[in-house]
C-alpha cells in the first residue's frame, strides 16, 4: 500500500463508522449513505486540510455535502435524496446537531452516560440516581462532573461548538 492508500484507509477505519451513523441519521436514503461517506473522505483527502481536528473537518464536510444534496433534491422534487427533512438550512443544521449530540452521548463511557440519563433526562435526584446505579452519592456527583466535561470535549472535537 502506498502512503496515500494507508492514510485514506486509516481515516476510513477510524472515522467511517461514525460518519456512516451521522449520514444515515441525517439522510433517509440508506443506499446513498456509503456514497456520501466515501465522497466526504475523498474530498477531505483531496483538500488535505491543515487541521488538528480531522473529525470536525470530516463532519463539516459531510454537513456541506448533505446540504448541497438537499438543495439539489429540493430543486428537483422527483429525486428524493433526503427525507423527513427540513425545509431550510437552520432546520437541517439542527437535525445534524441532534444526530451529533446523540452520537456524542453514545461515545461517553457507560457509567457517565447512565448518570446523564438519570439526572438530566429522567430528572432523578443524586440520591435516586445513586440507588439506581448502585454507586455512592459522592461517586454519582463526580461522574456527573466528568460526564459534563467529557461530553463538552467530545462535542468540541466533533465541531459542535454552540
Amino acid at each position: 500500500m502506498s502512503l496515500d492508500d494507508e492514510a485514506v484507509a486509516a481515516i476510513y477505519r477510524e472515522h467511517g463508522p461514525m460518519l456512516r451513523r451521522v449520514v444515515w441519521r441525517a439522510t433517509s436514503d440508506a443506499n446513498r449513505v456509503e456514497d456520501i461517506v466515501q465522497e466526504v473522505i475523498l474530498r477531505v483527502w483531496r483538500q488535505a486540510p491543515e487541521t488538528d481536528n480531522l473529525r470536525a473537518y470530516l463532519i463539516t464536510t459531510a454537513r456541506h455535502l448533505i446540504v448541497d444534496q438537499h438543495r439539489a433534491a429540493t430543486r428537483r422534487p422527483q429525486q428524493t435524496a433526503l427525507v423527513d427533512l427540513p425545509v431550510d438550512d437552520a432546520d437541517l443544521d439542527r437535525a445534524l446537531d441532534q444526530v451529533l449530540v446523540e452520537e456524542a452521548l453514545g461515545r461517553l463511557q457507560p457509567d457517565h452516560r447512565d448518570v446523564v440519563r438519570c439526572l438530566y433526562y429522567e430528572r432523578l435526584s443524586i440520591a435516586e440516581t445513586s440507588k439506581r446505579v448502585g454507586a455512592p452519592e459522592g461517586t454519582v456527583k463526580s461522574r456527573a462532573y466528568y460526564a459534563v466535561r467529557n461530553l463538552r470535549a467530545i462535542l468540541d472535537e466533533m465541531g459542535v461548538t454552540r
Binding site: P17, R21, V101
Partner: protein
C-alpha cells in the same frame, strides 16, 4: 457538613444536569459566587443543556432502554469496516492520487494518537479551560420570593446573550427579564410565561456588552421584582 472546595467544585456536574439536593445546590451557588475557576468552567459547559434537549426527551437511541431503538443503533452501526468498502474507496483514490506528504504525516500522527485513546486529548482540556467570554451570576430572590435564577452572560459580537435557568418560578403569568445599564436605564431583554413546573430555561439578548450591564432583574406581570443580580 464541612466540605472542601474540591468537593464543591465537583458539584458543577449535578448543578448543570440537575438533581442536587437543596443543601448542595445552595452550597454550590454560594461557592460559585466567589470561585472564578468554577464560573469559567460553567461558562464553557453552559450550552450543554440546550444541546442535550436536541436529542429529545429520552436522549436518543444510545440512551434509550427501548429495544426498537437499540436495534436501530445496531443496524446503523455496523461493526468494523469491511474490506470491500475500503478497496472501493482505495480504487477511487488511485484515480485521483496526488502527493500529500505533509498532510499524510499529520494524519498518520493523528491516527497514532487516536490509538492511545480519548484520555490523551481530554487531559489537557480538563486542566486548562480556555478563557471564554462568559460570566455567570446567580440572582438573589427578593424578600418574600423563593425563585432561583442563574444567568450566564455570554459575550457576542452584537452584545450579550443571557442564558437563564429558572427554578421555583410563578407557575403562571408573564415574567420579564430586565437589564439595567450603568446609567440606570432598564430595558426588557426577554419575556416568557410561567410554566406549571415552575421551571424554565431560556435565552434573552441585549445590545449592551457585559461590562455595561449593572444589574439584572426578573419581574412578574405586575412589575414586582422577583429576583435580581448585580454583575
Amino acid at each position: 457538613m464541612t466540605v472542601g472546595s474540591d468537593d464543591l467544585h465537583v458539584l458543577l456536574g449535578g448543578y448543570l444536569l440537575g438533581g442536587l439536593s437543596d443543601a448542595d445546590h445552595r452550597a454550590f451557588t454560594e461557592h460559585l459566587r466567589g470561585c472564578s475557576a468554577c464560573q469559567a468552567e460553567l461558562g464553557q459547559v453552559s450550552g450543554l443543556p440546550r444541546l442535550l434537549d436536541l436529542a429529545g426527551p429520552a436522549g436518543g437511541p444510545h440512551l434509550s432502554p427501548d429495544a426498537e431503538a437499540a436495534e436501530a443503533v445496531a443496524v446503523d452501526a455496523p461493526d468494523g469496516v469491511d474490506d470491500a468498502r475500503v478497496a472501493r474507496l482505495l480504487s477511487a483514490v488511485a484515480q485521483k492520487r496526488r502527493t500529500r506528504r505533509r498532510w499524510l504525516a499529520a494524519v498518520a500522527a493523528a491516527a497514532a494518537t487516536v490509538l492511545f485513546g480519548a484520555g490523551l486529548w481530554l487531559g489537557p482540556r480538563l486542566t486548562a479551560p480556555p478563557d471564554l467570554p462568559t460570566t455567570h451570576v446567580v440572582a438573589s430572590p427578593a424578600p418574600g420570593s423563593s425563585v432561583r435564577v442563574d444567568v450566564a452572560l455570554v459575550t457576542r459580537g452584537w452584545g450579550t446573550q443571557l442564558d437563564l435557568d429558572c427554578e421555583d418560578m410563578p407557575t403562571a403569568g408573564q415574567l420579564t427579564l430586565y437589564v439595567i445599564d450603568r446609567q440606570g436605564a432598564s430595558t426588557a431583554a426577554a419575556s416568557w410565561l410561567g410554566t406549571p413546573t415552575g421551571y424554565s430555561r431560556l435565552t434573552g439578548a441585549t445590545a449592551l456588552r457585559p461590562d455595561e450591564i449593572r444589574r439584572l432583574e426578573i419581574r412578574d406581570g405586575a412589575g414586582q421584582v422577583l429576583a435580581s443580580a448585580t454583575t
